[in-house]
């Protein structure tokens, strides 16, 4: 679902991502860990087609990036730190906007279902400004799932979701394994992600320093790994 | 200390164009002041015209170069084109400032006043100066990739504004500048035309030489930055 070879991104002369290779098979859920500034979020934004690779090749859902980015975007679900919704629109209006942007055919029924699913049915007609952080992030979860994406890109989802939202996300990730979707979960809390991820990739200074099946290692070792000491 | 410092590409071109520009400028100056015949109507004041118009035309050439460099940058994303664009606009801006100043002096000499709003050429170049001065404001307030991208886009949009400014000022005001060029070619004696062409060539060579020197400087600066960076984190 993702094929990346030698990805590079630089802010000025500083390389945030420095030659990353990454492959993602259907049904695979990868936890992407690393210290602050290791390049996790930049790599995720690259996979989300928000940041153009400076070097290397990237294919997402079979589409070359950046040339065929728009085709790839139809299948990407992106959950960021920010909910990416307008505070002065209602929950439903936000989802209507995104439903139209993605060309969702059964927009209104789908929105009603999802609002119910994330527990926002009662607040559907309230502006997001009145929501708590956890509620806004649950709305973001609905926004991400609206167009039935095949590749989920999540930036520290458990840090901002409340308990109900986190449960809902975990269920989605389990379903993703079963129906052949894929997910990349950026995190610095490997223990928390361990139960929903199959594979762990650790970045340090923009490079992959570890790529291993999740079951194989003790989370404490991982901590040590990305804070500096060589494996 | 085994590797000898590599020659910065363009060094030789800069030198050649510099020499050529110097020769041409000297020849053109001699021609304009000592050889070319005086103008019947305007007398000596007309001699401002040779360089004034040549600089005006070359400044537009510079902005055209920047526009093309902008297009090429957006296509290839090579820093080289950003360098070319910025250097060309820097020189073009210098030249347009010269056009405004010498045009103002000409206005004083011809009409006895430093500024004539009804002279479309003067007014247009003032607008052009404002357009391209804004380029540097934009550049200084964005970083890295964005700076290059925004600069490229603005150099294209700015170049689109230039003919619009020209035309809008021209339709709005009556044309009172002395008509030296007519549509077909020139209504001046052949001996004047020769020196005008030489002046034009001299200013063009000057532009190319300055551009090459700017580019060599930029490449060296970048090489230096990378060297420092490599020394910092081996």
């Amino acid at each position: 679902m993702v094929t990346a070879r030698g990805l590079v991104h630089a802010y000025g002369e500083r390389r945030a991502v420095d030659g990353v290779d990454l492959d993602l098979a259907p049904g695979e859920r990868v936890a992407l860990a690393g210290a602050n500034g290791a390049g996790k979020s930049t790599l995720l934004r690259m996979l989300a087609t928000l940041v153009r690779p400076k070097a290397g090749t990237l294919t997402v859902l079979g589409h070359a990036i950046p040339d065929a980015a728009r085709a790839a975007r139809t299948g990407i679900g992106y959950l960021a730190h920010d909910p990416l919704v307008y505070l002065d629109l209602t929950a439903r209006q936000n989802l209507e906007l995104y439903g139209d942007l993605y060309g969702v055919a059964d927009r209104d029924a789908r929105i009603t279902d999802l609002l119910d699913d994330v527990g926002l049915a009662v607040r559907a007609e309230d502006t997001v400004r009145t929501f708590s952080r956890g509620m806004a992030q649950r709305l973001a979860l609905a926004r991400m799932l609206l167009h039935r994406p095949r590749l989920l890109l999540l930036d520290e989802p458990h840090a901002s979701l409340d308990a109900a939202g986190a449960d809902r996300l975990d269920r989605e990730l389990d379903a993703a394994r079963d129906d052949g979707r894929a997910a990349v979960i950026v995190t610095h809390d490997v223990e928390r992600v361990a139960r929903v991820a199959d594979r762990l990739v650790v970045l340090r200074a923009g490079r992959v320093v570890l790529d291993t099946p999740m079951g194989d290692l003790d989370p404490m070792d991982v901590r040590r790994l990305y804070t500096g000491v060589a494996p | 200390m085994t590797d000898t410092p590599a020659r910065i590409p363009g060094e030789r071109a800069a030198l050649i164009w510099g020499v050529l520009a110097t020769i041409l400028v000297v020849v053109a100056s001699i021609g304009v002041f000592l050889v070319a015949p005086g103008d019947a109507d305007q007398g000596i004041v007309q001699r401002i015209f040779y360089f004034h118009v040549a600089i005006a035309i070359v400044s537009l050439v510079a902005f055209a170069v920047a526009c093309v460099a902008g297009i090429l940058f957006l296509r290839t994303r090579r820093e080289r084109w950003d360098d070319v664009g910025e250097a060309a606009i820097r020189i073009g801006l210098l030249f347009s400032v010269l056009v405004v100043i010498t045009g103002s002096i000409w206005a004083k000499a011809s009409w006895g006043t430093w500024w004539v709003w009804s002279d479309p050429r003067l007014v247009t170049y003032l607008i052009v100066v404002l357009i391209y001065a804004a380029y540097f404001v934009l550049r200084s307030s964005a970083e890295d990739d964005r700076r290059m991208r925004y600069s490229a886009i603005y150099s294209i949009a700015g170049f689109a504004s230039v003919p619009l400014s020209f035309y809008s000022v021209r339709v709005a005001e009556s044309f009172v500048h002395p008509v030296v060029f007519t549509r077909g070619g020139a209504n001046m004696p052949g001996s004047m035309l020769v020196w005008f062409v030489v002046s034009q060539a001299a200013i063009l060579a000057l532009f190319i030489a300055l551009l090459e020197v700017e580019l060599v400087g930029r490449r060296s600066e970048r090489a230096l930055r990378q060297l420092v960076l490599r020394l910092e984190n081996p």
């Binding site: 153009r52 920010d82 505070l87 139209d100 942007l101 | 957006l74 404001v137 925004y150 809008s168």
Partner: protein, 226 residues
């Protein structure tokens, strides 16, 4: 698909504006204050400003446009929504078109107030019979303002001191629009109509709009492409 996206984006901007009423109200107030300032700045309280009416109108509209255009990505930037739009399969030119349409609507709303006010405040002589021609001029100029404004506000969006950058970028590019708008208004307002002059200026505005539309379409991909 593109039509649906465009309509959704425009609807979103109008909904936000209707809910917050931040932009249009401020623009209208600003324009009225500007007209008053111009009146006193010119210092001819009992004189006749008819000869300057078109100029006063377009100077006011140009500065009001800068104000409105400066607000055009405020919701996206302050509420950090832009990534959501960019990660969706929306052609960048649709984003451009939607923003331009929103600015066009704001400008038209301002002009509904400003154009009659200019007639009341400044014009002695025939004005109301030429209001249709002035409206056409305004509409053409609005297209120019919207296209150039969207492009420049996109450039200023992620710069430092963006509130300062936008007028510096945008106003020089607006000079031709002000010249042509004022010229076209003078051609038909406050005296005998000179329709050939009016047509000339309007053609110029159309050419401006086409040129900036081409530049925007060609470059707008790169505005948001990090």
């Amino acid at each position: 698909m593109r039509g649906r996206q465009l309509a959704a984006l425009v609807r979103k901007d109008l909904r936000l504006e209707l809910r917050t009423r931040e932009t249009i109200v401020a623009m209208v107030l600003f324009a009225i204050v500007m007209l008053v300032i111009l009146e006193f700045g010119l210092g001819t309280r009992d004189g006749d400003l008819t000869r300057f009416a078109g100029g006063l109108m377009w100077v006011t509209l140009a500065f009001t446009a800068v104000l409105g255009v400066g607000r055009s990505y405020v919701a996206e930037r302050e509420q950090r929504v832009l990534d959501g739009l960019l990660v969706a399969p929306v052609p960048r030119v649709v984003l451009l078109g939607a923003k331009a349409i929103a600015i066009l609507i704001y400008m038209a709303a301002v002009e509904v107030v400003v154009i009659p006010l200019v007639g009341i405040f400044f014009v002695k002589g025939p004005y109301w019979d030429s209001i249709g021609w002035i409206a056409i001029t305004a509409l053409l100029a609005d297209v120019c303002i919207a296209l150039a404004g969207t492009l420049f506000s996109g450039l200023a969006l992620f710069t430092r001191a963006r509130d300062l950058i936008l007028p510096v970028l945008f106003l020089p590019a607006l000079v031709p629009v002000v010249i042509a708008g004022a010229g076209a208004t003078h051609a038909v307002a406050g005296g005998p109509h000179d329709m050939s002059e009016w047509r000339g200026y309007c053609l110029f505005l159309a050419a401006y709009a086409i040129l900036f539309a081409l530049v925007s379409v060609a470059t707008y991909d790169a505005v948001f492409d990090d």
